[in-house]
Symmetry: C2
Subunit: 529 residues, 2 copies
Amino acid sequence: MSGIIEELRNQVKEQGNIVRELKAKQASEEEVKVALTLLQELKERLRIETGAPPKGETKKLTLKTPKGTRDYTAKEMSVRSQIFKKITGVFERHGGVTIDTPVFELKEILTGKYGEDSKLIYDLKDQGGEICSLRYDLTVPFARFVAMNNVKNIKRYQIAKVYRRDQPAMTKGRMREFYQCDFDIAGTYDAMVPDAECVRVAVEVLSQLDVGAFVVKVNHRKILDAVFEASGVPEDKVRTISSAVDKLDKQPWAEVKREMTEEKGLSSEVADRIGEYVQLRGGKELLSKLRELAPLMQTTRAQEGVHEMELFFEYAEIYNVLDQVVFDMSLARGLDYYTGIIYEAVLVEESQAAERTQAKEGDESQVRVGSIAAGGRYDTLVGMFSESQGKKATQVPCVGISFGVERIFSIVMSRMQAEQIKSNQTQVYVIAVGGGLLQERMQIATELWDNGIAAEFMYKAKAKLPNQFKACEDEQIPWAVIVGQSEIDEGVVLIKSMLAKDKSQGNGIPVKRADMVAELKQRFANVVG
Amino acid sequence: MSGIIEELRNQVKEQGNIVRELKAKQASEEEVKVALTLLQELKERLRIETGAPPKGETKKLTLKTPKGTRDYTAKEMSVRSQIFKKITGVFERHGGVTIDTPVFELKEILTGKYGEDSKLIYDLKDQGGEICSLRYDLTVPFARFVAMNNVKNIKRYQIAKVYRRDQPAMTKGRMREFYQCDFDIAGTYDAMVPDAECVRVAVEVLSQLDVGAFVVKVNHRKILDAVFEASGVPEDKVRTISSAVDKLDKQPWAEVKREMTEEKGLSSEVADRIGEYVQLRGGKELLSKLRELAPLMQTTRAQEGVHEMELFFEYAEIYNVLDQVVFDMSLARGLDYYTGIIYEAVLVEESQAAERTQAKEGDESQVRVGSIAAGGRYDTLVGMFSESQGKKATQVPCVGISFGVERIFSIVMSRMQAEQIKSNQTQVYVIAVGGGLLQERMQIATELWDNGIAAEFMYKAKAKLPNQFKACEDEQIPWAVIVGQSEIDEGVVLIKSMLAKDKSQGNGIPVKRADMVAELKQRFANVVG
């Protein structure tokens, strides 16, 4: 380590000389700035290597997690595990298998996949070797996995953390490290069959988690592209106009139009034509309406998109999810890689949920409470990767859904009371009467562990009885095994249910020491059964 | 994004000018080198931002995971989940609760905790804001969590990935991203009670996972420090001599002595005195032997260490783990933060395992096959964090054990045949006779999902019968529900066990459509029972 420090000290010295020389010969401001920046970087590296405090601060650690990240306590983890278990249950009910990919990828794998959001990608420092970035989502690594391993079809789920350098000030405390729960179906199949199943998976998950009323907004990239084409949006403005449209769930049309015309240079007429389309919202019947819009339906894209959406509604009906689905033509989704149907599940106020089937054009009242899951079809992403290998591109069409579990977690957590959450799985607390008997408690615990029973005791040679009972209660441990010298002499232990209100058990029911394990197992079974 | 690119282009131009000027005025080699390095860095950043291929390569993505990382397939995940489940089971049997911490920490949290290995820490790029690093282990983040949240006692486990920039060439393909499974007990308790339980946890986990013969080597930092003190090692050489001693499991004494004397400047006499101590190995009886070594026992450290190890052996006997424990005075462990007992579980050849109780002094034959779990007591780490807050240091003594699950995974995986591993949980495959009936299959699947039954079908409107059966078999799905037009007309479905050798079921047993779910559940129960 001292080698690095010494080298850095030399570099700081040298760079300081360079800066002084530049200033002396009155070099341009730019030149001095560049040299100064490097000097500051070198100094900062030196500071970190030597473990010195940041400039102007006293030597004092900041005892916190990095901005946008957080710890989860044992009780929170208990709730989170239950959520994951329910989600995993649904994914597996639909044939999902899980895979794992590294938390960072080669940076070039992520390049060009996220449109304007690419700036939010976390990079690893270049410490020599490959340039890597933390994963931004689970979709791109999944596509990389499929291409790299020549997978032809898979239904995979993955529950893992992703990383985005969001500015919390701008995005209302959005986390920079958060979990995504993804379910994706890869393979060449008939149109809309797996797509409709993904929406069904969304409805199953959100119903099971009991997050309140929600709707799944659906749209189709081909229809959206046709809207832009028919409205006269220049090809090079499609992406940026699309992201303006996507804001219609948060902003009124007038505001979105202003962005299109004033900020993005679209003519007012073109914007108005877009406005007529993207404010359309409804159910299956909207498709017949679209069929009647001649200018739109002239494009092949529109015909393909509308045909696929007809199939989607047919399958959604069989899958019993029509009540939750809203065809919303303003839904655009920011990511570059979608090619077909797109969807987004949002929580809505109860009253709005009741009215959602009567949603009127341009109805601004149904504001988004919160996006909670989203996804769509991406048919060319895997091909982009396989093509890069010099081989002929192998297209593996994909469709998927991703759940943002942090918001779900907040909702579930807010419904529970902390003291009701049990975070351990301990079944038995071993208690000594008379203050000591450490070795006896250890022996009993060993016998319980040997028989697969979760057991704890107080790690003190002399443990006071009230303290032992309090620990048992605090940890919500359902059973106590109690021993004192007289029990040892008689070859028994006392078993006491800590949950039962039954006063007749007194200090516990005596059981022969040899029967302890069998007795306990009997009692566990009775409680469960 | 284009703003960044433009800025980078300008910076490259400016830095190019600086380099030319430096060369023109024949600046020192060092100066030119520093300026050139910055120029190259700027060019590389520009290349990445523009998505251009690396110099000298054609535009071709590298379709791989970063060095030292890997994907896990569905079958591998299935095996890994089973391993995690067993480990979690043991941790919870001992009262463990789980927490979660971010994958990266403020760099200063990790600084000064890992001795010579600090150079292996992965840093995040400075993209403005805090300087962060990927976690190197789960212990330091745990201590940070305990200090930050004022936790007074907790038994926590955590199964998560950690990151180390090992050079695979130097460390035989060690991974840079790998899982650790940690169990730690924090709190002020009586000596050696939780410590012995951690060793018991190690023995339970490794026995359950059936990884083959193993021993748990134990030693005590205070005894080791006393050895160095009694041998006459200067205070400032203790750490480096300690890491030389730690190599005794891989190198003969002569080689370690050479490192101590030639590389680290210790006198031959001091090295020999150390050698007499650290080649001692055995069981509980070794403690009596140490008690007789007057020069060693003069130090308070030695007396404390030996007393604690006596307690440890007493408890290890109650916990039934004496057969697996070896007192090995050469065990040193590299990390800075250990303060008491240290231990390491290693796999041994079966023959060695049988002989381990007769291990002789200086016996080099018992070479380490592989370290598989390690840990120890660290009583001051939490205090270091709480103290940093300007508050009085709150000491929360800790002891823990960490399992390196990658090696365990390799061992378990090598015992299994890939085709025997089932990665999905699907119970029923819905099959149509006669090629089509997509909507009918969808309806049946919906009914199964509604009733919590995991079901799949082929995502094709026209599905050939042999292809459907093949998919069902390939995925090892135990039951098929089969329909054709005649079954629909009769209001039945056929249920067929795909695992049963029973030929009498023919194409399947007809069951009334209304009874399908109940019948299937009955059959699942029979198979399980």
